[in-house]
Amino acid sequence: MLAALLVMALGAVVLGAALGYAAVRFRVEGDPLVEKIDAILPQTQCGQCSYPGCRPYATAIAKGEAEINQCPPGGDEGIRKLADLLGREFKSLSAEHGIEKPKSVAVIDEQICIGCTLCIQACPVDAIVGASKQLHTVIARQCTGCELCLPPCPVDCISMQAIRESVENWKWKYPVFKINPAQREAA
């Protein structure tokens, strides 16, 4: 009786120690779910989801505090991916957070810019170059199109321009077979 108890107790102690060691040794840094959600979000850092950036929104989704349909730049495709990842139901984009727009970049009208640096301070990805009383300009390649630079501009010299289709970014279209009415009649 006593031997059995001792054996069980010893087993519990040994296993407990092993588990405790493993918990310390193989501790997972950060929340992998947040990382996965963050990888799906488009990283525009626009704040339209009502969180101050993509990562805070990812954290909120992981905690179950936010819905998955609050990201307009990600669009329906982004929501679908989040739904797949989290095993939730797909929901269409929530209207209060905005609508999906074509990808665009901010352009500063250099004739009007007064060099106030307010847009530089607003840009979440440091994509605007300039200094006080010097002309500012947007690095188009790094602009995420978040529109956060628009409200602070005192002279309204920033506009959003949709990225035009060019030979470089042109995509082959999904093949659609045109049904020819004449052919059908003949057949």
Partner: protein, 563 residues
């Protein structure tokens, strides 16, 4: 007689009607210089070259008008002498029907060359060869337009034993390589030897499909001439069976050497490098004559009265070329390339570019519209025909369902878009269209992923920087407060201290001495306007002085005695 060479086979392939004879009956003609040359800046794989000329500028034949931009990019040159009349967006020879930057040149008819001469590559460093070929604008002329200087890098490609020259030209209608080999075999061979020397390759294999006996004979004669002249015996002309797509680089390498280049590897990993015969010709012109790539041989075929090959200045409108061959009245489309892999042009005004091996004129009689697409019946014919050993039906299902990850798992990017699968498909499914769609979607997504990763990095760095700035600011404020307190404390102790150190005394004495010197100097100086004055002036000065004294007295703050 063809050199004895053990040949191998690739899987799949089809035998479409070749239709090559018509355009080989006449020799290569030089196409006349058009009234306007439209030279697109972007004519190769890689970065878009930056324009080097401005409207109004006079350019000479062979002058660089677009400089290579980035690690993968190739220069473009003026095809003849003339005046640049615009650098603007023009319709590109591209299926999209979109425009891109082009240099528009009005030829002056003098065809005046820029000074040029041979390049001594044997005494040049690899970097010099690299830069020279990049600035000569030589790219692969088989259709892929990959910059040749990147393939001719001896430092990267050690232990190369075979240089394959691709003269297979398997696509129907196209005969530009065929006639080039018939007429200019010796030059091609010279170019091949230059490339062999650059790469240090052991042997040169020239693979030509056996439906071009004249080209094989011409190349063999040239090889024999080289052998008798300089004892060069490393060149072998090999006749390969006619089977589309034997002219694919991987397919030809497999036929000639038996090496099957696996997924994710390059042929150079197995000691083989492959060039088109037209590229060898262009290399010879660039190295031995110093002439950049400004023209190429183009087959004009299809729905025209007299199909023929032309030596065409790059930038010549396709319309001008077609007019030389007498297009038939029912022509309704222009295809760049052949019927299997060619791209339909938005209209016939687009210019001939480095990639244009053939201008194929079509009509609905010659290329009838495909019958309606029917459902896939899982017959597996496409897999039997695929020369890249893929499973086209799987790729089709995944591309159609837009499951791109799976399509990539089935090696979508090993597809060479040869069109064999669509050719044999009994359900007439435009399979290649689905693969092209899936490929461009995957590319777009990968680009978006790269830029979103960059945005995340930049955002996180900004957050970090803001946090650091906040901390720095707080630390500065704290330091200032401490300094102020210390100063106040120090002032108190100073006041308490009466005795001064000898050093301070010494300093004070020095200062006092300096002040004394300055005062003495000031006294020595006499204002010069007060010497040699007349008595009247002296009286006047005295009067002014007294007035001033009075005013000074008045301006003094009054001291009230009553207080």
């Amino acid at each position: 007689m063809t050199a004895l060479q053990r040949l191998f086979k690739f899987n799949g392939g089809v035998k479409p009607a070749y239709n090559k004879e018509a355009s080989t009956r006449l020799p290569i003609a030089v196409a006349p210089t058009p009234t306007l040359l439209v030279i697109p800046l972007h004519q190769s794989i890689g970065g878009m070259p930056r324009p080097l000329v401005k409207p109004g500028e006079r350019v000479l034949k062979g002058q660089r008008i677009g400089g290579a931009d980035g690690n993968v990019s190739s220069a473009v040159h003026a095809s003849t002498s003339g005046t640049v009349i615009a650098v603007e967006m023009r319709l590109m020879p591209h299926t999209s029907g979109l425009s891109a930057m082009c240099v528009v040149i009005e030829p002056d008819g003098r065809d005046e060359w820029i000074p040029h001469g041979p390049f001594d590559f044997r005494n040049a460093s690899p970097t010099q060869i690299h830069d020279y070929l990049r600035d000569s604008g030589v790219v692969g002329l088989g259709g892929a337009v990959f910059p040749s200087y990147l393939k001719l890098n001896p430092e990267k490609q050690r232990n190369l034993d075979t240089l394959v020259l691709n003269g297979a030209e398997c696509e129907p209608y196209i005969t530009c390589d065929d006639v080039l080999m018939r007429e200019r075999a010796a030059t091609i061979l010279q170019g091949a030897l230059v490339m062999r020397d650059m790469l240090g390759a052991g042997q040169v294999l020239i693979g030509i499909e056996d439906n071009k006996p004249e080209a094989i004979a011409a190349m063999e004669a040239a090889a024999h001439a080289v052998k008798t002249a300089v004892g060069e015996s490393s060149v072998k002309v090999v006749s390969v069976p006619t089977l589309y797509p034997a002219g694919g680089a991987k397919q030809l390498i497999r036929v000639l050497t038996g090496i099957e280049v696996p997924h994710g590897k390059r042929s150079t990993d197995y000691g083989v490098q492959c060039f088109n015969v037209g590229t060898a010709y262009a290399i010879f012109e660039a190295i031995a004559l110093g002439q950049p790539l400004i023209s190429r041989i183009v087959t004009v075929a299809g729905n025209v009265g007299q199909p023929r090959n032309f030596e065409v200045l790059l930038g010549t409108p396709m319309r001008d070329l077609i007019a030389l061959c007498g297009p038939l009245p029912d022509s309704d489309r222009v295809i760049m390339g052949g019927p299997m892999m060619g791209l339909r042009m938005p209209d016939d005004s687009v210019p001939v570019v480095k990639a244009a091996n053939c201008v194929l004129v079509g009509s609905s009689d010659l290329f009838p519209p495909p019958p309606p697409e029917m459902p896939c019946i899982r017959c597996g014919e496409c897999a039997k025909a695929c020369p890249a050993d893929l499973q086209p039906f799987e790729l089709y299902w995944f591309a159609r369902a837009k499951i791109f990850g799976k399509a990539q798992e089935y090696d979508l990017f090993d597809c060479i878009e040869c069109g064999c699968c669509a050719y044999v498909c009994p359900s007439h499914i435009p399979l290649v269209d689905y693969y092209r769609f899936a490929k461009s979607e995957i590319w777009a997504r990968e680009l978006a992923k790269v830029s979103s990763d960059e945005a995340r990095e930049r955002y996180e760095f900004r957050m970090l920087r803001e946090e650091r700035e906040k901390q720095d600011h707080a630390a500065k404020l704290a330091a200032k407060a401490v300094a102020r307190r210390e100063k106040a404390a120090a002032a108190k102790t100073d006041a308490a201290k009466v005795a001064t150190t000898p050093e301070q005394d010494e300093k004070k004495a020095l200062i006092a001495a300096a002040l004394e010197r300055v005062r003495a100097q000031k006294e020595q100086i006499q204002p010069e306007n007060t010497i040699n004055l007349t008595p009247e002036q002296v009286a006047e000065v005295a009067a002014i002085e007294t007035r001033r004294a009075e005013i000074r007295e008045m301006a003094k703050p009054h001291v009230w005695q009553d207080d």
